[in-house]
């Protein structure tokens, strides 16, 4: 029997082989409420899960951040927790999402670093005690499709009512549109998938314009 390596050893080995899916390729868009049915029909036709129909979800997402306000360089680590309100025994999902990189014109999608893990329901208390602050939270309800490695979500975003113990009551939609996201989690440097995503996004036009969205410009524009 060979001796066991530590978990850190296997993790570094996995990092060396570049098999950890630590990048997210992302395109975003929206569709007006009255055309969402048309989009769903089109997605049913295009995506893999045809016979079972679209998968619905009803998730509560909490966005935390861990920050140090030191004088010279404020340090911020954003963390997100997502839990399913409709499937109570599903694990919670903890996620770190880095700054999105737009890249040059030739790159078809936004790329951001992302670490995604399942965890127990103690995560909320854990983050609170860790020193994280809850920045904002929302409810996301909608449909999930997949096509190969690509994931398509069509979701309605709801603002919370402020009652944290009853997250699905008295919520309020924040717009007349559904958010549409096309994403793939992949190891670093698999840019071929971005091209596949561009082609897929092309097929949803003109119903939805899936685009690279510049968060920095968006931040300036909206404020």
């Amino acid at each position: 029997m060979s001796t066991l390596g530590t978990a850190i050893d296997s993790l570094t080995a996995a990092m060396k082989c570049n098999i950890l899916p630590n990048q997210e390729y992302l395109l975003q868009g929206s569709v007006l409420d009255q055309y969402v049915e048309v989009l769903l029909h089109r997605l049913r036709g295009l995506c893999d899960n045809v016979d079972s129909g679209p998968e619905t979800f009803n998730d509560h997402e909490l966005c935390y951040s861990l920050r140090i306000n030191s004088a010279n360089a404020p340090c911020i680590l954003p963390l997100r927790v997502r839990r399913a309100l409709d499937v109570t025994d599903a694990p919670f999902q903890l996620r770190y999402v880095g700054q999105p990189e737009l890249g040059d014109k030739n790159r078809p999608t936004v790329v951001r670093s992302s670490i995604d893990m399942a965890c127990s329901s103690t995560i909320l208390e854990f983050l609170n005690e860790l020193g994280c602050r809850l920045d904002f939270e929302y409810i996301s309800r909608g449909y999930m499709f997949r096509k190969g490695r690509m994931k398509v979500t069509v979701s309605k975003i709801f603002k919370m009512n402020g009652m944290s113990n009853k997250p699905s009551e008295g919520v309020e939609a924040i717009s007349q549109s559904y958010l549409v996201e096309l994403s793939v989690q992949a190891p670093l440097g698999q840019d071929a998938i971005a091209e596949d995503m561009r082609i897929f996004a092309e097929q949803l036009r003109p119903l939805v314009q899936l685009e690279k969205i510049d968060y920095k410009r968006l931040g300036n524009m909206m404020s």
């Binding site: 048309v38 029909h41 089109r42 049913r44 036709g45 295009l46 045809v50 016979d51 129909g53």
Partner: protein, 295 residues
């Protein structure tokens, strides 16, 4: 390959000829007597003409049969051609149709499967079979038949057992209506899957709570495999064809004593473990725990 196509062509050709000649027959029949049949013996002439035509049709038919016999059936699956692209259709109403087609295909598949099962069961379980040996009175007769009872009686039995013990939870599923399969969770100790045949216990498997609820695979753990064995023994011990419901009740009573499987020491040696197993035997009357070797 070339030869096949040639044969196919000639077969198609002969079919074509046959069709045209058959058409001529019908034409002639529909036209009836014509002027060119003359005056005197027009009926005879007409019949002669018809006979001639029918002979050619006969000959043609023989040709067709011959050429068809020469053909070889194509090997392998048929290429569906353009129809395979039906699944790619994205038009809305057609898309809905596709989903329904898939569903209905699944349904018919399931119906076929279930009806095949049902057919087997019904064949071996005919309704005429009654238990006559002990039938002295009419009333008695209906009671004694214990493998063919109305589902309600079994239902009542199960709910009454469920009520009997507070730490037992029973969930029942009925793959075949009169013969339920129940899962009995005994506190947080173990779970038994019990299959009934009518009012008789047919099969018992004991497993850990975390294991699957399949009737046929046995437990991973030695202790539960032992308990399963002992349950089979008890099942036979309590079996009574005359009073089937009492048999089930006594069995369940005995089975309930396993709630102390891990916590009770052996009555004889007052130890917990013997060859790394807890006392897996429960006395059939006193319900006291014993090791296999100590009983």
């Amino acid at each position: 390959m070339d030869r096949d196509i040639e044969q196919l062509n000639s077969a198609l050709n002969s079919v074509k000829i046959l069709r045209s000649n058959v058409r001529r027959v019908f034409e002639s029949v529909s036209n009836g007597l014509r002027a060119d049949h003359g005056e005197e013996i027009k009926e005879n002439r007409y019949i002669l003409e018809l006979q001639e035509l029918l002979t050619t049709v006969n000959n043609n038919l023989r040709d067709v049969e011959n050429s068809v016999a020469n053909l070889t059936p194509p090997p392998g699956a048929f290429n569906l051609g353009n129809t395979t692209y039906l699944s790619q259709e994205t038009t809305q109403d057609r898309q809905q149709l596709y989903g329904q087609l898939v569903n209905s295909y699944k349904w018919t598949d399931k119906i076929r499967e279930y009806s095949a099962l049902a057919g087997n069961i019904l064949a071996s379980n005919s309704f005429n079979k009654t238990y006559k040996t002990f039938g002295t009175t009419k009333r008695r007769k209906t009671q004694t038949s214990n493998h063919n009872v109305p589902p309600e009686i079994i239902e009542n039995l199960i709910t009454s057992i469920d009520r009997l013990f507070s730490d037992v939870t029973i969930t029942a599923s009925r793959p075949f209506v009169p013969n339920p399969v129940i899962q009995v969770a005994l506190g947080r100790v173990l779970r038994a899957v019990i299959a009934f045949k009518g009012l008789m216990i047919e099969w018992v498997v004991v497993k850990a709570l975390s294991e699957g609820s399949d009737v046929w695979t046995e437990s991973r753990y030695k202790v539960f495999r032992k308990v399963t064995e002992n349950c089979h023994a008890a099942m036979c011990h309590f079996h009574s064809p005359l009073m089937p419901d009492l048999a089930v009740r006594s069995f369940m009573h005995w089975f309930h004593s396993y709630i102390t499987l891990f916590s009770a020491p052996c009555k004889r040696c007052s130890k917990h473990l013997h060859s790394n197993l807890p006392p897996t035997w429960r006395d059939l009357r006193s319900l006291e725990p014993y090791h296999e070797e100590c009983k």
